[in-house]
């Protein structure tokens, strides 16, 4: 290996690592606020990429029907709970309207504009608008009623949600993969390196999102409320922060980040309905590097996973995944030696 090959590998690893970083941040965010180890995080990536691909093909993406079904399920759940508690009809109607308004509106928009073939950026925006509401809906359907359950129960629910989403992904998107067109079709040559426009976009978007998240947590009230919930749920609740709306917000952000990652990765590889899982899992490995707590460490971990994967597949491609996932073991050992504490739930 010479410097040229090493630099090409490093570039490849870092651009994948940038996407893993986004997913790692989302995983840390969701865990910190709700204690849910969100395994289906990667599914949003596949949903994002495939929704855009189907919009490109001028078809109404399956995401639309999925979103409507999910929103209807949540509305019915709310209705049942409301009736059980004997809430007035007006309030029930308001609640249903709040749940259904956005999904129905964005679905109708998608059905209307899909055959017209909008410009790529408008389709990307529509994709994000379609996939983002999945976060809060999934949280309300699967996790909210279990908010006080143990981490283990929440993890088991996550596994179930993951299998459900993969199965439904196959149903709504089909078994064949898609590759999206590049958002910016240029190539820069820096020495022996060729930098594609998409790589630049991946780095820029990841950086922008990380800075945006930092500003959100430092400067906005909602962000501070999320941080407070993450630090101490009970304390935050005593201060008047609703832990369930904090949960919904964190899941919405996770879905948004997932959809965006899907848009970023879609033009660089072929995405299948089940591609998301491994991508999400690598984000999760990076999040574990950070002890599911620290955002900057998660970023470092994700770039590390990207590099390890890229160099690993150069040296020994059959064992690539083994190398990446074995790397988690020494990290776990180190973490458990550094702060030895019992199970805290």
């Amino acid at each position: 290996m010479d410097a040229t090959i090493a630099s090409i590998l490093a570039l490849d690893g870092l651009s994948n690592g940038a996407v893993y970083a986004l997913l790692a941040l989302a995983t840390v965010l969701v865990f910190a606020v709700t204690r849910v180890i969100f395994i289906p995080q990667g599914e949003f990536v596949a949903f994002g990429a495939l929704t855009l691909a189907l919009l490109q093909a001028r078809q109404v993406p399956g995401t639309v029907w999925f979103l409507l079904v999910l929103a209807a399920a949540v509305a019915v759940q709310d209705l049942a709970a409301g009736l059980r508690h004997g809430q007035p009809a007006g309030r029930l109607a308001m609640q249903a309207l709040r749940t259904l308004a956005w999904p129905v509106a964005v679905s109708l928009l998608a059905i209307w504009v899909a055959p017209k073939g909008l410009p790529l950026l408008a389709q990307a925006a529509l994709t994000v608008a379609l996939v983002t509401p999945f976060g809060a809906l999934l949280y309300r359907l699967a996790y909210e009623s279990l908010a006080d359950a143990s981490v283990l129960v929440l993890l088991i629910v996550s596994v179930g949600v993951h299998f459900a989403l993969v199965g439904l992904g196959l149903f709504f998107f089909g078994a064949e993969g898609f590759r999206n067109p590049s958002f910016w079709d240029v190539r820069f040559s820096v020495g022996a390196l060729t930098l594609s426009g998409q790589t630049v976009i991946i780095f820029a978007a990841s950086l922008a999102l990380i800075v945006g998240l930092w500003l959100f947590f430092e400067r906005s009230l909602a962000g501070k409320a999320l941080r407070a919930t993450a630090v101490n749920r009970l304390g935050a609740r005593l201060m008047g922060i609703s832990s369930s709306s904090a949960g919904r917000l964190s899941f919405t952000m996770a879905a948004f980040i997932g959809a965006l990652s899907g848009l970023l990765i879609g033009p660089t590889t072929t995405v299948f309905y089940d591609s998301g899982f491994l991508i999400g899992l690598k984000g999760f490995v990076a999040a574990v590097f950070a002890g599911l707590a620290s955002y900057p460490l998660a970023l470092v971990g994700a770039l590390g996973v990207g590099l390890l994967e890229s160099f690993g597949s150069f040296w020994s491609s059959p064992y690539k995944e083994v190398i990446v996932f074995s790397a988690i073991l020494p990290v776990l050992l180190w973490r458990s030696l550094r702060d030895p504490h019992g199970e805290d739930h």
């Binding site: 090959i5 490849d12 299948f272 089940d274 491994l278 890229s310 597949s313």
Partner: protein, 377 residues
């Protein structure tokens, strides 16, 4: 009341005799579940199966196994115990075929597998496969390499059984032809990048690279090779011979070589290809029933099952009555001894030693020109 009972008894007797006289075929296919993409076209072709062969009524009993070997076994058990079938067709995927092979052996019922399945030697006797094995598909690739002076090749394939089987086969055949495999790299269908593997292959710089992947998954490593400036020949396997390769690969797959069974490219086959007429017949009838462009290799295997039955049934009927163990044995022997037979998927020659059977005339090498598959002259 007595009359009614008599009528029922008579009806039952009639039903029993007709059931005894008809030829019953048990078909288990993956019509739902993850592998339904392969099973549904097979089921479609079986809807066109002849109602009568050699004057004998054919009962085709089709059950869905939901891509689940357990359900496939249940179906097969039902076929051999309740329906008393004379022959089993299926499964449409390897795992189901492998799961029902022991039942075929136990009940001494011949099994025509629609998936390329390997079974333990003791089960081999009752299992015959309709899809081509890797040996016949690797043959045209290696022949073309020899003809165009390829001396070294690189391998870039799935980390699963499909990749492994191809690697073994290509190492064997290329080795015999004096071609060296200089680099072996692996990837998975859901990988986000094959750049490192492509880098390693381009630095080894073989004369040709064989990409072993399926459908739309075959495009990503291909594009990675082109992006890294690989200039040699790129070969793809028969699982990649679908429009999805071109849909995703675009201009990057132009000029690459893809091996394929003859069925799906019927009209383009050279006039001297033995399967031409049969393949054209399959494609015309299938597309007349299911629309233009609906042809696919899986339905072709189901069509071939029909050719085999038409050839074997008349002989077996002379030896024994349907529904008896002797008839099942006669069918099995007939299939094994039917000799060179032209199928839509190639030329079949099953022998007692070889239940895969296709001859080397089978595979056809295609190349991509302007987004279309064209036969290499």
């Amino acid at each position: 009341m007595k009359l009614l009972r008599k009528t029922i008894a008579a009806a039952a007797a009639v039903a029993a005799t007709t059931a005894f006289a008809d030829v019953n075929i048990g078909v288990t296919l993956s019509l739902t579940g993850p592998a339904s993409g392969l099973g549904i076209p097979v089921g479609n072709q079986f809807k066109l199966f002849p109602k009568e062969i050699a004057g004998e009524k054919i009962n085709l009993i089709v059950l869905d196994d939901a891509s689940d070997p357990g359900k496939g076994v249940n179906n097969a058990r039902r076929f051999v115990t309740e329906d008393k079938v004379d022959i089993l067709f299926g499964g449409s995927i390897t795992v189901v075929s492998a799961a029902i092979a022991p039942i075929a052996l136990e009940s001494k019922t011949p099994q025509l597998s629609i998936a390329p399945v390997g079974v333990p030697p003791e089960q081999e006797r009752w299992v015959f496969r309709l899809p081509q094995g890797f040996t016949v598909m690797a043959h045209p690739i290696v022949e073309h390499m020899k003809k165009t002076g390829v001396k070294t090749i690189g391998f870039l394939g799935y980390t699963d059984a499909y990749g492994e089987s191809w690697l073994k086969e290509i190492e064997k055949q290329a080795g015999a032809a004096g071609i060296k495999v200089v680099a072996v790299e692996r990837f998975a269908r859901t990988d986000t990048s094959a750049t490192p593997q492509a880098l390693k292959l381009t630095s080894a710089n073989p004369d040709a690279v064989l990409v072993v992947a399926s459908g739309s998954g075959a495009a990503m490593p291909h594009k990675a090779l082109i992006e890294r400036g690989y200039k040699g020949k790129i070969y793809q396997t028969h699982a990649a011979a679908t429009p999805d390769l071109v849909r995703i690969g675009g201009k990057d797959v132009e000029g690459s070589f893809v091996v394929s069974g003859p069925a799906v490219i019927a009209e383009q086959l050279p006039a001297n290809h033995p399967s031409k007429a049969v393949a054209v017949d399959f494609v015309t009838k299938y597309e007349a029933a299911y629309g233009k462009g609906s042809r696919n290799q899986f339905a072709g295997h189901a069509y071939d099952a029909q050719i085999v039955m038409q050839k074997v049934l008349p002989e077996a009927l002379k030896k024994a009555k349907p529904g008896t163990p002797e008839f099942r044995a006669a069918l099995r022997d007939g299939i094994e001894a039917m000799g060179r037979t032209i199928l839509s998927h190639g030329v079949m020659l099953w022998t007692p030693a070889d239940h895969w059977g296709y001859t080397n005339e089978t595979g056809v090498l295609l190349t991509v020109v302007n987004g279309q598959f064209v036969v290499v002259p």
